[in-house]
């Protein structure tokens, strides 16, 4: 247990910092809400003109989909990525290297610190938006809700894994800002964050299927809505596990390479 303590301490400090930047956090949240609200109005208008279902989604289901996407996008914001890559760029990592803890684990702990706060705020906001727009679909039964929570947890680990890998590029390039923007743009398309993947033509759907992004938003959202049967659900969650492990491993690999670079060039 004592080995875990330092990581808990990281998470705590990180949460404190989040509070310090309260204005920033709240406003960031509201900023995302605008997008969600705009999408709500857009889809509301679309469904008013086309009652019934569109791409297999009813209006209450679409509302739930957008909110789940919003919730997952609110966890682990760009802030974590930015701080991590800045630390690398400014050479603070050298200090971390000299300390007795695992780098990836410490970064994970730091990212997870504010996550309870982020999650509760996002759920609260989602609930309010859902209420204003006349409710949204809920998971059909507790079992599915539980599966959804598991899937969300996996999605968050995948997101961390990805963000960690992307931050590692800061060891090699100064273009981290552009890479971050590019990462979120690609992720927005292929994760289904902006629109359910089923709305895309087949070829684009096939591309999305082989990328890790769909496991970050589309999978939890479809699990939530019960769009997958028992077997597909098991497969989808299995795929999430594979991506989570794979990306974490890739991150470690990248870090090991990076440390060589640092020690050779003297950071």
């Amino acid at each position: 247990m004592s080995g875990l303590r330092k990581y808990v301490s990281f998470a705590r400090t990180s949460l404190e910092i989040t509070f310090v930047y309260r204005a920033g956090f709240v406003l960031n949240m509201i900023g995302t809400i605008f997008y969600v609200v705009a999408m709500f109005y857009l889809w509301q208008t679309v469904f008013l003109g086309n009652p019934g279902s569109l791409g297999g989604f009813t209006w209450p289901e679409m509302k739930a989909y957008i909110l789940v996407s919003f919730l997952l996008s609110s966890l682990l914001t760009w802030y974590d990525e930015w701080v991590m890559s800045q630390d690398i760029r400014e050479g603070y990592v050298a200090v971390d290297l000299a300390r007795p803890f695992d780098f990836q684990a410490s970064r994970f702990a730091r990212a997870m610190g504010p996550i309870i706060f982020e999650a509760t705020s996002a759920v609260g906001v989602a609930a309010v938006v859902a209420l204003v727009f006349g409710g949204a679909a809920l998971p059909a039964d507790p079992g599915r809700a539980a599966l959804f929570v598991v899937s969300c947890a996996l999605a968050t680990i995948i997101k961390f894994g990805l963000v960690y890998c992307v931050s590692m590029t800061a060891f090699w390039t100064t273009s981290i800002e552009g890479i971050m923007v590019g990462r979120s743009a690609i992720q927005n398309i292929f994760s289904g964050a902006l629109i359910p993947l089923v709305f895309f033509p087949d070829w684009l759907q096939s591309v999305a299927a082989v990328l890790p992004f769909q496991a970050m938003i589309s999978t939890p959202a479809l699990v939530y809505l019960g769009k997958l049967d028992a077997q597909s659900t098991a497969v989808a969650i299995g795929v999430q596990v594979v991506w989570a492990v794979g990306l974490l491993f890739l991150g470690r690999l990248a870090f090991r390479q990076a440390v060589k670079v640092v020690t050779i060039h003297g950071g």
């Binding site: 705590r12 949460l15 404190e16 509070f19 310090v20 309260r22």
Partner: protein
């Protein structure tokens, strides 16, 4: 003629957020914010004549930088009046900027990513410096400050000493009437400090540029300034020239004698010099005296016949020491208080 810089009751109040430590404190701060007012500068009066060179001193957080920032127009005073060269700085900020040059030791005025000379050229355009004057000044400053070697290097890649010299050059390209220097020699090596001081002194002497200097380095003061203003807790606690400060508060001197044999009779010496403090330690003998009571020669004349002196030297208290004592509160400069003569340094210890 009115003074070049004139302040009456100049005051700056800041609102500070009060935070409690720890997670609970952060949480509390998240919901309820508490503030308290801090008087950074508290009703100060200041008049500086053209051509004066003034050291503006005080411990960290005393209000030095805040004052400079009000004089330069960066900050709007909370109350009081301020006129610099006929202008209210924060109202006519841009016009005021043409009359002043500013060097902040902690922060550069140069553009970070571009070669130093490009920063100078940009300054030329911003200040609308006529071409011939620009050429003349730049040539002169390059020579005096030794800028040539890094003229084409981006500011991000030059050393601190080079940066300070370049900053000083840029601050003076438009021939400002007033030069504000905020810790201009902080972190620099002796050679660079020296060239900067020499350069500033030349400006004061040859062009009559008015200089206001804040520093923790007392070498800066002795080399550049005639007048000393000390601020503490936002209030000016001393304003006068350097010589007077020394005469008033640094009156004691110590003569150290090196003896051939240990002194036989301390009592005889003490008797001859009743107003002095005599201490001895083996072959060393020291006499502390008030230089307005005795001349150094008098002391020597009194001591020499009684002991065999090989060598002697006289210690003057350094300005640095003096000002440190003011900061530490050991020496009160408030009007009405008697100057305290005892030095903070322990006197030469006990008798053998």
């Amino acid at each position: 003629m009115p003074p070049l810089i004139e302040a009456h009751g100049l005051t700056k109040k800041f609102r500070q957020a009060v935070k409690e430590p720890g997670l609970a404190g952060a949480l509390k701060h998240f919901f309820v914010r508490q503030y308290r007012d801090k008087l950074a500068v508290d009703h100060i009066d200041l008049a500086i004549e053209p051509g004066e060179s003034v050291a503006y001193l005080g411990p960290n957080g005393a209000g030095k930088s805040t004052t400079i920032k009000m004089l330069t127009g960066i900050l709007v005073p909370s109350s009081g009046s301020l006129i610099v060269n006929g202008l209210v700085p924060y109202e006519k900020r841009q016009r005021n900027a043409r009359n002043i040059g500013v060097v902040f030791g902690q922060r550069t005025q140069l553009w970070w990513d571009i070669p130093v000379v490009e920063s100078f050229n940009l300054a030329r355009d911003m200040y609308e410096i006529p071409a011939d004057r620009y050429k003349k000044n730049l040539g002169e400053f390059t020579e005096m400050l030794g800028l040539a070697e890094f003229m084409n290097v981006p500011a991000a890649k030059i050393s601190l000493g080079q940066r300070m010299r370049a900053d000083l050059c840029m601050a003076l390209l438009h021939d400002p009437r007033i030069l504000y220097l905020d810790e201009p020699t902080i972190g620099l090596d002796i050679a660079v400090k020296d060239s900067i001081r020499k350069f500033v002194r030349a400006r004061v002497e040859e062009y009559g540029t008015t200089v206001m200097l804040t520093t923790h380095d007392l070498g800066d003061i002795e080399d550049i300034c005639r007048r000393i203003v000390i601020i503490d807790n936002g209030k000016i606690i001393h304003d006068g020239d350097l010589a007077t400060l020394k005469d008033t508060y640094a009156r004691d001197r110590v003569i150290h004698f090196q003896l051939a044999r240990p002194a036989e009779s301390m009592a005889a010496i003490c008797q001859k010099l009743p107003a002095c403090e005599v201490a001895s330690d083996g072959l060393r003998l020291s006499v502390r005296f008030d230089r307005f009571e005795h001349a150094a020669g008098e002391i020597a004349g009194a001591v020499m016949p009684l002991v065999e002196v090989i060598d002697f030297r006289i210690d003057e208290p350094e300005v640095e020491d003096l000002i440190r004592r003011v900061y530490l509160g050991q020496l009160s400069l408030a009007p009405g208080d008697e100057p305290e003569l005892r030095s903070a340094k322990p006197a030469v210890v006990a008798e053998a």
